[in-house]
Point group: C2
DNA sequence: AATTTCACCGATAGTACTATCGGTGAAAAT
DNA sequence: ATTTTCACCGATAGTACTATCGGTGAAATT
């Protein structure tokens, strides 16, 4: 029983097929391997029919980037929502890493494509990749700020951003390592990232007027939901800075 | 007064010109922008003469990778030599980051090209990039081991590697940020990286049978050349593992 | 029922690049 | 002095891809 597709439905379907095929080829062969010939064939239509749906490959990539960005933003929104619901401070910090790790593993091709495009001057997706990275960095910095790591002066703001950037890079690296089979346990990845982050944030804490140094008891036992009277703080900075 | 070049000298010169031109184009336009036409023109010879020097573009890239690898290894050797000469423990740890940061800034195109190639399945340089990253990761892990962070069981070895990988990624990210003008001060980058690393290593220290937890005094004062009776330890593990 | 629309097709002109070939002149070998 | 070598040249066949064009049949409109 074949469904009697309407014309516009059919068109939309093949358009989707093209996008899906392009994404797969992009992931498997990289942007260099992408061509209207391959995409059209993979989608099951003639090469010339590619142009019924897109002005050129550039336009298809733009759409792909927009859709990818939308998916990414959605997953970030979800992550922040979850993080807000989380109980203890420590758990929240941990989730700050666990959640993006999960997101990456759900759609690894998005990260792979982005990592490639980011440093490739010939890539049509470069701008998108750079912007995505910057957005994510701001998100992460806001997350940290929300956890109480205030950044009052410019120096501390910059440091917070550097920490966010460094930790993001580490997150991507460990996620890739996990996907490549080197680090089977995602929880362990999250642990390492938490530890990395905490070390750097201690630097911030102690030099700014932020929370007191708590060098002891840092070792993150499960009972360490600490800092009960924590700064209610600049809490919603993220809403202004981010998204 | 033009020097009367011998035939082989002249050939070697144009070969070098080709390699230099290819590297420049690779950096500016990426691997996709590379072609025998462009490289030959940039080197000032006919396109067909490209094949006098290289079997094809693939071979040129291979040579470029080998030369790049050699330069990289040399700079790593130098870094380790310097690190060995360094006085205090803390300074050594700091140099562990400062030195690679400097190396990257001396030849940023090498990192850029590598970052691109690493995740690009269509890249001829991919294997080289992946291997380079792995080598550097092992170096770094060995550096940390030399600092006294022993890894006896498999779990700790894996954690040490994860830390090395994460910190490497952060190093690259901050170096790129510096080159892009976002983080003008390289010393500050090194500080952040040191802090990141210390935080993570604390995790390792306290869980392994390694050095005692020293949560206090961690804040890296200049007089912190600490742990005077430190493990003479596995000190030369790196020589076996690395290079 | 007649007409229009349009998603898709095959064919093809145009572009960019690769890799080979025979020719040339100056350096090198004899 | 003669011959050989060879780095470089221009020309060109072959490959892969882009983007356009007119044609076709079925869906949509009238």
């Amino acid at each position: 029983m074949t469904t009697p597709l309407s014309r516009s439905e059919a068109k939309d379907l093949t358009r989707r097929k093209l996008l899906r095929a392009a994404l797969a080829i992009l992931d498997e062969e990289g942007e260099a391997g992408l061509s209207t010939v391959k995409v059209a064939r993979a989608a099951g239509i003639a090469q010339s029919s590619f142009y019924v749906h897109f002005k050129d490959m550039q336009e298809l990539l733009l759409v792909l980037a927009q859709e990818g960005g939308e998916r990414l933003r959605a997953s970030m929104r979800e992550a922040r929502r979850k993080a807000r619901e989380a109980p203890g401070d420590l758990e929240r910090h941990r989730d700050t890493f666990r959640i993006p790790l999960d997101a990456i593993c759900r759609h690894p091709e998005l990260l792979r494509i982005q990592l490639r495009a980011r440093h490739d001057p010939s890539s049509s997706l470069r701008e998108f990749a750079v912007e995505t990275a910057a957005t994510y960095r701001r998100h992460h910095a806001a997350d940290l700020a929300e956890l109480g790591y205030t950044a009052d002066d410019e120096r501390d703001r910059r440091r917070l951003e550097m920490i966010a950037e460094g930790v993001n890079a580490a997150t991507n690296a460990l996620a890739m390592g996990h996907l490549e089979g080197r680090y089977p346990d995602l929880d362990e990845c999250a642990d390492i990232l938490t530890a990395l982050s905490r070390g750097a944030l201690r630097l911030l804490r102690s030099t700014s007027g932020g929370p007191a140094q708590r060098a002891e008891g840092d070792q993150a036992g499960p009972g360490d939901q600490a800092r009960p009277g924590d700064q209610p703080g600049p809490g919603d900075l993220d809403h202004e800075t981010v998204e």
